[in-house]
């Protein structure tokens, strides 16, 4: 919780990486995903839903089964069955 300062270069590098990834044909759904700064968890960058938005949306649109769908699965890739 001690890290409150904004590291512009960290965010800048993320933005440049994302732009580069898209320019190279990569698909990244900004409406569902964002690259977050997880340094306070010793994890560098990680992909997650944008600050809980997607979670709320899904809960609202589907009442009965919403619990199981609260988290969108990792999009656009599926774990290999053999590993």
């Amino acid at each position: 919780m001690s890290r409150q300062r904004v590291d512009e270069d960290f965010q800048g590098a993320t933005d440049r990486f994302l732009a580069w990834f898209k320019a190279g044909g990569g698909v990244f759904r900004d409406d569902l995903l964002e690259i977050q700064d997880l340094r306070d968890k010793d994890a560098g960058r990680g992909i997650s839903t944008p600050s809980g938005q997607a979670t709320r949306k899904i809960v609202n649109t589907d009442s009965a089964q919403s619990q199981r769908k609260t988290y969108p699965r990792t999009p656009r890739c599926s774990p290999s069955p053999e590993t």
Partner: protein, 194 residues
Amino acid sequence: METSKLPGKLPEVFDAFVGGEGDDEKEPLDPWTSLILVMMYEHLQGDASRWKPYLDVLPRTFDTPIFWSDAELKELEGTCLSVDKIGKQQSDEMLRSRVVPVVEQNSKIFYPEGTTELTSQELLDLAHRMGSTIMSYAFDLDNKDEESDNEEDGWVEDRDGITPLGMVPMADILNANAGFNVSHMPAQMHTSLS
């Protein structure tokens, strides 16, 4: 490896069966060493590398024991993590004999014009950094489903039963969050540095 220009510029280093120059053992580079060299090359190209925005989001430093100073390592004495297990000396030797000389003997290829060459120690440090990056970020590019000799897929043959290694931008970021995990992602030629 297939998506970097380096192997094309140094076929004698990367090609599997150059055969018989006699000096040292001229065996083909393993996927590990190849990828370290490719990553060092792309790093040294700086802005000229098409992978720069990706390399910039990879870690620059690691605090794993292989980067600890002797004094720090001494504090481990008596624990089960022995200096031997960390294997620093062993990997130093490997990188000094198989990676650093390749860069030094081919400085015209590795260094763009106008850049200063790194010392052997700096090269060794860079090789360690890339090695650690690979250890924590790279994927096995497992092509066992592709039985046909399809040259288009960009993957090298599975030589000596060793799977080629590759860096897969974005997929590695998914792995950072323990909530999500990618164990395998189809790597396409234009999106993986391998």
